[in-house]
């Protein structure tokens, strides 16, 4: 009798363990556990604490990976329908690839998203809308575009340091390169005018009316004169020795900020958080922000998506909607400098008058909201992120002296048309 009783006990115990295992998404005390997968700096640390304090039944943990790792992991998790966080951030460069398979995500329109639609810039809302009208993500920030520059380096090279005078140096990108040539004559050893060709090129391409795709999703970059002109201009700058030849978002580029290897960097709003993180407190006040050549523009910006594989979809949708609401976007702008995707905030005095002390009290509120209002959004095709990588590689081939501008361009056009 005894062994049998023992066996029964084991079965009961095993069942209990299995049941507990199944219930592990609900933490002790009936709390719902939510995970949020991010990349870079979204400025959410404080907000998540605030949300958890207001919602005692929710426990949030966030995980942050590098830009490319994050998106590749997300693809792998979606493919296997396991491992994705409850909320996953997706960048503009990848949103088109993900919205091509909208069934992997919760259609936010069925969860009250259609009523929130008016919050966002219309093109931001459409950016994450699938062809069959499913909304896969709520917009967080938009990139906007400006130039961040080192006041001390410009001054030492005999150029003005004041932001209005600096802006007057470069009404166009050609002027920007000309100013660079002047800078380079007096620049100290190892300091260049800009960080790397790919960064500048992305900014100029981001201002074009048509980028890599036309609106029918055809890749037109090979025939696009605007992009080719931008390419030629940057190649000239590289050949004139203006580039530090560092690829953006790499460890060596981060070191470049720390070591002061370049005087300017094209600055979407999210770049400011990166500069502050990388250059560190000792560079406070050395950096400043001014307007970008050629008017407005956009580079980047993100969305919060809710993968369907999550176990607490409704709570996740609620949190995503809260994080992207106007009040929260305003807070993120003030703490991390990410430009809201909510047009109403562009008139809000607390945003417009906001100055960033790290960047020598630059009026980034006015600067970026002005740019955002002027912004003429460019259509992004399905593999825009891939093409951006390919053109970055192409520019690096020129910087590394492996190919001349024409050969590298031809190879790039061939690659993306495959």
């Amino acid at each position: 009798m005894r062994p049998k009783a023992l066996a029964l006990g084991c079965v009961a115990l095993a069942t209990a363990v299995v049941l507990a295992g199944c219930g592990s998404d609900t933490a002790s005390g009936g709390k719902t556990k939510l995970t949020i997968g991010l990349f870079g700096n979204f400025g959410y640390a404080e907000l998540l604490k605030e949300y958890a304090a207001a919602h005692p039944d929710v426990e949030i943990s966030d995980r942050t990976a590098s830009y490319s790792d994050h998106h590749k992991n997300l693809a792998a998790h979606l493919a296997t329908s396991s491992g994705a966080a409850d909320i996953e951030a997706v960048d503009t460069g990848y949103i088109n690839q993900f919205k091509a398979t909208p069934d992997k995500f919760v259609d936010l329109n069925t969860k009250g998203g259609d009523q929130l639609k008016e919050r966002w810039l219309p093109w931001k809302w459409e950016g994450s809308l699938s062809k069959d009208g499913k909304q896969i993500g709520y917009g967080t920030d938009v990139g906007g575009l400006a130039i961040c520059y080192r006041r001390d380096l410009l001054q030492n090279a005999g150029l003005p340091a004041d932001r209005d005078q600096v802006a007057a140096l470069w009404p166009t990108w050609q002027d920007f390169m000309n100013a660079g040539k002047k800078f380079q004559e007096k620049a100290p050893e190892g300091v260049k005018w800009f960080d790397g060709g790919p960064t500048v090129l992305n900014a100029i391409v981001g201002q074009a009316s048509v980028g890599y795709y036309d609106k029918s999703d055809k890749i037109v970059v090979g025939e696009n004169k605007e992009v080719k002109d931008a390419w030629n201009l940057v190649v000239d700058g590289v050949n004139a020795g203006l580039s530090s030849k560092l690829l953006y978002s790499t460890p060596v580029w981060n070191t470049g900020f720390k070591q002061g290897q370049f005087a300017t960097v094209t600055c979407p709003a999210w770049q400011m958080a990166k500069i502050k993180d990388q250059a560190g407190p000792e560079a406070a006040g050395k950096w400043d922000v001014t307007s970008v050549p050629g008017g407005g523009g956009n580079w980047g910006g993100s969305y919060l998506t809710v993968p369907k594989s999550g176990k607490n979809v409704d709570k996740a949708v609620e949190l995503a909607a809260w994080l992207t609401a106007p009040e929260q976007q305003a807070k993120v702008f003030k703490s991390a400098g990410l430009l809201p995707s909510i047009p109403k905030l562009y008139e809000d005095p607390s945003i417009v008058d906001f100055k960033n002390p790290y960047f020598n009290d630059a009026p980034i509120g006015k600067l970026f909201t002005d740019a955002a209002k002027k912004l003429n959004p460019q259509y992004q095709g399905p593999k825009a992120g891939d093409i951006q990588t390919a053109i970055g590689n192409a520019m690096q081939r020129v910087e590394q002296g492996k190919q001349n501008g024409e050969d590298s361009w031809r190879q790039f056009v061939g690659d993306v048309q495959k």
Binding site: S68, A75, Q97, A100, T101, G190, V252, G256, Q261
Partner: protein, 306 residues
């Protein structure tokens, strides 16, 4: 009677089938984690299939393979793979033999050294690669700094084909040499000292003893390590991937100068989401690995005493 009959029958059954039961767990685990993924990969390689859209997959038979054979970037990746295989496997085994020979002597704190050589191997590959990528940095890397002391110019290690292959090979060799050295060392200790004594009496030098006695007697281990190193080095992924971090990591350099076949597979599968095509790369790479390991076997088999 009936009871005895039953137990003997059970006993016979036991001796006949129990051994299969004992080895079954291995085959079950191999079936789930080895054989099934392999067969499934072959199945996917016959399809046109998006990583995220299983429902829309369609069978195209050998289209992926036909495309692959005509893909210059695939052959570029295979070339890089073979180049890195040579640059890693040969030095790995030579250094390992040399280190094992040193450790086989009676030196003080011998155990410490023997344990020390395995340390690189138990270090995380990601950590190793990130550190080495910094050492090989263009502007502030330690190696360029040292070269600079000797008047050499700055080398952009990631930019060139040869320089990037050398840098990656250094990482792999550093990580795996100790492991192979320990295998060699264990076998060296099993070689009878009388052989060396006899050779010494005949007037053979230390060098002659090493090449004529030690190496030939280590032949089985050299064959083993060659095959192990080949299967590892033919699918190098983490080192080339992390050597060039950032959005373009999967292309293995601006002109794919250090993109290995495994990295090309990764690029096709996880940045282009072409699951079918990347599976066909996996299958071809597996076949190529078997062939290269076979060549390695044939070469190392020729080691013998005169």
């Amino acid at each position: 009677m009936a009871v005895i009959d039953k137990t003997t029958r059970r006993h016979r059954w036991d001796t006949k089938f129990a051994p299969y039961g004992y080895v079954a767990p291995y085959f079950l685990i191999f079936g789930v984690f080895g054989l099934f993924p392999l067969l499934y990969t072959i199945w996917v390689s016959l399809q046109e299939r998006n990583l995220l859209d299983e429902a829309a997959a369609k069978l195209v038979w050998f289209d992926n393979y036909a495309k692959l054979m005509a893909d210059p970037y695939f052959w570029n990746a295979m070339g890089n793979t073979l180049s890195l295989w040579l640059l890693t496997t040969v030095p790995q085994i030579l250094f390992a033999l040399f280190i094992a020979q040193l450790l086989n002597r009676k030196v003080r704190t011998r155990t410490l050294f023997r344990m020390g050589v395995i340390l690189p191997n138990i270090t995380s590959v990601a950590a190793v690669t990130i550190i080495f990528a910094q050492l090989f940095g263009r502007d502030f890397g330690l190696i360029n700094w040292v070269l600079g002391l000797f008047g050499a110019g700055q080398i952009d290690w990631q930019a060139g084909t040869a320089s990037s292959h050398i840098a990656i090979a250094v990482m792999v060799v550093w990580r795996w040499t100790g492991y192979h050295a320990l295998i060699f060392l264990a076998s060296m200790q099993a070689i009878s000292p009388s052989l060396y004594e006899a050779a010494t009496l005949d007037g053979a030098s230390g060098r002659q003893q090493f090449w004529r006695i030690t190496v030939p007697l280590l032949r089985p281990q050299i064959i083993f390590t060659t095959i192990i190193a080949t299967t590892g080095n033919m699918r190098l992924l983490a080192e080339p991937l992390l050597f060039n971090p950032g959005a373009a990591a999967a292309t293995g350099g601006s002109d794919r100068q250090f993109q290995t076949a495994a990295l090309y597979l990764y690029e096709q599968g996880f940045t282009k989401y072409d699951f079918g095509y990347s599976s066909s790369i996996a299958v071809v790479l597996a076949v190529a690995t078997v062939i290269v390991a076979g060549i390695g076997y044939l070469v190392t088999k020729r080691i013998r005493t005169e």
